[in-house]
């Protein structure tokens, strides 16, 4: 098997899926770091984002790329709303209660998607798109855009966290919420900003997943495990770690078929997750230990 084949059929799909995992994992890692619980509704929030995109694309006849900003805002509003109505109420309780509540939210969000958009597989645009040939490397436009958009979103997020006042407040709360509160950081506002960012990233992950593959009611849920694996692999609380983790999990899944029977592909993310928790629980970039 030639190098080009490895790149075309294993590396490129791995990077595309990895970029989508990365977008999800960044959100998971932010919730882990700032709010300190595993958010199990993450995948289904991404599904909601993807289907909101479908709603806009079919209603207005615009391209999915144009729908992206609007979908990110809409999903962010939904995420903040879910936090206000459900998670906020449970904030003082043990975190496991919120984790279980988020599982319930996941089922609710999925049920709403199924009621509104039905349960059939759908696509933004009908038909198939054959890849372009760039010096032997076969990439579809949308795959290139997925990878570039992921990088742009993550760079913007990093700048926000490093440079802006609220970004610093988020990092302070991630380090020590009580100390941050005493220093005058409004925890409530930080939580809201976190959900805005997480909701937006979820929507982007869902939209790109739908754009590259198909829209299905279960699409986000089946992405949840690889996303968690990516967040933990990169180090909890580390945005750049989540990106690296996402890409590694994506590429590892695709590459695994070279060595393992293909039915074990889905288990790759799980194996990575277990291995990291055993060998290096802080993750590649020294995140928090849960």
């Amino acid at each position: 098997m030639g190098a080009l084949e490895i790149i075309n059929f294993y590396l490129v799909p791995g990077l595309v899926v990895g970029s989508i995992y990365a977008l999800g994992a960044v959100g998971i890692t932010l919730v882990f770091a700032i709010l300190r619980y595993a958010h199990l509704a993450h995948g289904d929030l991404a599904t909601l984002g993807a289907f909101l995109g479908l709603g806009l694309v079919t209603a207005l006849g615009i391209s999915p790329y144009l729908a992206l900003p609007a979908v990110m805002v809409l999903t962010a509003v939904v995420a903040v709303g879910i936090d206000r109505v459900f998670y906020d109420y449970l904030r003082e309780r043990p975190k496991i209660v919120t984790v279980m509540a988020s599982l319930g939210i996941a089922l609710m969000v999925r049920a709403i998607v199924q009621v509104v958009w039905g349960v059939d597989s759908q696509t933004y645009t009908r038909g198939i798109v054959r890849p372009e040939n760039w010096f032997g490397i076969r990439v579809r436009d949308r795959e290139l855009i997925t990878i570039l958009a992921m990088i742009a979103l993550v760079v913007a997020l990093q700048l926000f966290l490093q440079r802006s006042k609220w970004g610093k407040a988020m990092r302070a709360m991630s380090d020590n919420p009580d100390l941050a509160l005493l220093s005058g950081v409004d925890n409530g506002k930080v939580v809201t900003i976190t959900w805005v960012i997480v909701g937006g990233l979820c929507a982007a992950a869902g939209l790109f997943l739908g754009l590259n593959f198909e829209l299905k009611a279960m699409m986000g849920w089946s992405m949840l495990l690889p996303m968690f694996a990516a967040a933990i692999l990169g180090g909890v609380g580390r945005v750049e770690g989540a990106v690296i983790g996402g890409l590694i999990v994506g590429v590892a899944e695709e590459m695994s078929t070279l060595f393992l029977p293909t039915e074990y592909k889905a288990a790759t993310a799980f194996a990575i997750l277990l291995l990291m928790l055993l060998v290096r629980p802080t993750g590649l970039l020294r995140g928090k230990v849960l």
Binding site: V17, P131, E214, E253, E254, T262, E263, K265
Partner: protein, 399 residues
Amino acid sequence: MKLFQTAIAAALLGATALAAPAHADVKIGLIGGVTGPIAAMAPPMIASAQLAIDQVNANGGILDGQKLIGVVGDSACNPQNGTDAATKAVNIEGVVAIVGPHCSGSVLAVANSVTVPAGIAIITPSGTSPEITSLDDKDTVFRTVPSDDYQGRALARTLLDRGTKKVAVAYLNNDYGKGLAEAFKSEFEANGGEIAGYAAHEGEKASYRSNLAELASGGADTLVILDYGDGSGLTLLRQALENGFFENFVGADGMKSDATFKELGAENLTTFVASSPVGEKSDALEMFSKAFTEAGGDPSAIFVTTSYDAAFLMALAVEKAGGDKTKVAAAMREISNGTGETILPGEWAKAKELIAAGKAIDYKGAAGDHNFDEKGDVPGAYALFKVGANGFEMIGEMK
């Protein structure tokens, strides 16, 4: 006074308890893959089962003129949800029998953990795995759809007849995909075909390009996809087409889903064929087609004939068993064993009279005669379909 009230209350309660069985509706479960990978196929299947129930109610009802009610449950095409739905139907709704579930994995799980222990008869219109044949079911599990053992073998022979000697096989790693793939492989190889790639895959992954690259490395130009056309089968087909891994694509009944041409476009699917069980031309099929068309359904949709037959057979069996759920399974054998007066789809009033008179009846359904063998299976007829301008078009019968 208190005592008087209590006595009245007790009397009323007693009266309802006594009155209830005489007027209560008779419930049967309709458990199907409403959500999940066969979601596109399930609504017409449930609609055709409902047609059978409506016909029963319009022609005198069941038992002593009671109404037959189909309680719909969602098996989501997986064992866990199937078990949940069946448990609810049996324990909470109190159904006397179940039509369904739709997917093989659900059928196996539901039979093993719910209906066989409870002694409830089930009849699946679309659970096609060969595993169901060997189930230790105390004779309570039936199906109106032939086992995939037949379909896999028929598909293998048809491909060889059409001149395809070398294929790669991608199958979904569940009871349906595995059973079909094994039957296909053994028949294809036994008749001189070459399997140049044979791999299972998990459902619901985003990318199957590496799986396809592995399969394509064997050098075959035909890919046999044994999966669901509304689930990962669609993703596989799309990625194989987009990247040009294979030229020809072959699917079984699971791939004969409208989602394939709705999402990928019929113009891209000129080299795609799918097999599916079909009803042999008969008066019964025409009677069903007419009734189902009038009810607003599409009689050529997949598994609608088997779903209708399953529901109608179940209604006949419940009638024959006098509503006793422990006798439904035995009654199922008596109403369709090839002897007695022929009953065609929709002939409920006639069947009811004959059963009341104690005469033997033999149901001949839209999908076939349904003379169950000792395992509760039926033989089947298959046809090969291609995608035309208006959906799937039959291109020939399969032997």
